[in-house]
């Protein structure tokens, strides 16, 4: 039984392997971009709005509201990054009901890549918000003695992000595989439904935690005033 879609190599050319993770990621990307472009190509600003447009507006405005609730002053600034994190993870997880599909988020490579993106985005957004010197000073606050601990916290929460998402999605896939071999009927369906819920929750948790990290780093003196939020891993 394949645990990770990374091991499912579909094409190989001069040592470069095109595995299922990348292919399914492309598939998810294509689906999202085409769907979005088709819907936004006929945007209405009048009285009557198509239900697809309404759905997209609800999704986008809800993401903006969530970003604002976490504490960002300008939700539009973080919307592309945080919104894409959530939409990509959620779409990738929800598509797991499609037979033959393996969610790319079930690959540790994908989750590590997303966590690395967050790891890089946090200082970038923070430096853009408050400047390089002010950002670097947060690592030596309240005292320079805290510098190693701050660095460890930075790395550990990135690893936690990656492993949390990977573990949850992969476990769902593995559990469904095991149940299919043990009890082919009924139970796998229940677990699939449960997997949909888990997938959505994981997408929400990943995006919100990323926004919390970015927001806490961007606010002046926040690191000294309040500790980083504790992880709510499953």
């Amino acid at each position: 039984m394949e645990i990770s879609p990374d091991a499912w190599v579909l094409y190989e050319w001069r040592g470069l392997q095109l595995n299922a993770t990348i292919v399914f990621t492309w598939g998810v990307m294509a689906l999202m971009v085409i769907g979005a472009s088709v819907i936004t190509a006929r945007l209405s600003e009048g009285e009557t709005v198509s239900r697809w447009q309404v759905a997209l507006e609800v999704i986008v405005s809800t993401i903006r509201d969530q970003i604002a609730e976490v504490g960002a002053d300008e939700p539009g600034r973080y919307l592309p990054f945080i919104g894409t994190l959530f939409l990509f993870i959620a779409t990738a997880n929800l598509l797991s009901v499609v037979p033959g599909y393996q969610p790319p988020t079930g690959s540790l490579s994908t989750t590590v890549a997303l966590a690395l993106c967050v790891l890089i985005a946090v200082p970038l957004f923070s430096i853009g918000e408050r400047g390089l010197v002010s950002y670097l000073r947060t690592y030596v606050q309240p005292t320079p003695l805290m510098l190693p601990f701050n660095l460890v916290a930075e790395v550990s929460r990135t690893i936690a992000l990656a492993v949390r998402l990977y573990g949850n999605v992969m476990s769902g896939t593995v559990i469904v595989g095991i149940l299919i071999s043990v009890a082919p009927f009924f139970f796998p369906v229940v677990m699939q439904v449960l997997g949909l819920l888990t997938g959505l929750i994981q997408a929400y948790i990943f995006a919100i935690l990323a926004m919390v990290y970015i927001g806490s780093a961007s606010r002046t003196g926040h690191r000294a005033d309040a500790p980083p939020p504790t992880d709510t891993g499953e």
Binding site: I22, L87, F88, S107, A113
Partner: protein
Amino acid sequence: MQIDWLTVAAQIVNFLVLVWLLQRFLYRPITEAMARREARIETRLSEAKEARAEVETEARRLREKQQELEASRDEVLRKARQEADELRTALEDGLRKEMEARRKTWEDHLEEERDAFAARLRQHAGHQVIDIVGRVLRDYAGTDIAGQVAGTFVERLADLDAEAREKLSDAARRADGRARVDSGVPLDPSARSRVTRAVNEQIAPDIEVAYGEDDALLIGVRLTIGEQTVEWSATRFLGRLEKTLDEVIEGSGRPRSGRAAATV
């Protein structure tokens, strides 16, 4: 649990591409569309507010105009009432004056009628008195009234004082010796000759005397020489009768003034 770092790099690239694509095809169009719609809704709301404010202003103006109209209506009513009161007062005054004038006219007319009645009554009563006196004199004294009148006149002429007699003599001279004697009752020739003789003896010896009758004298004689006149008549007896009659007429003409006025 294995990590394919090549896949990690590819996924990082994939994710960044996806961020760019979604920003291009999803976030920007949707947020812009929402912003435009909100702007348009805001515009329409502000337009509606302006229209409402305009309508409220118009309504306030109309209310004020209505209040002005009501106020002016009250003013017009007040003026109309005042004019009506003035007109009524003027009409009442006119009516009062007219009634006063009619009453005055009626009273004047009544006065004239009373005077005429009194004159007729006096004349009639005089004739009656003369008739009665004459009849009484004839029946009980055996003389006629004309002779008595002439006798009385002769006696009075004889009793005239010197000054009056002198005036009559002067008048007789200026009047070319003509005198006139009027009597209420016709004098017979003997009475006339007695009067003529008395005039010739007392006033002027050669004066001519003409005789005439005047009903107004009733019982009496009047001698006229030029502008001088000597008169004796029963008029003063009738004066009292006339006064009594006047009082009676006054009482019957104003019955509301009380019976006491009639008995005065």
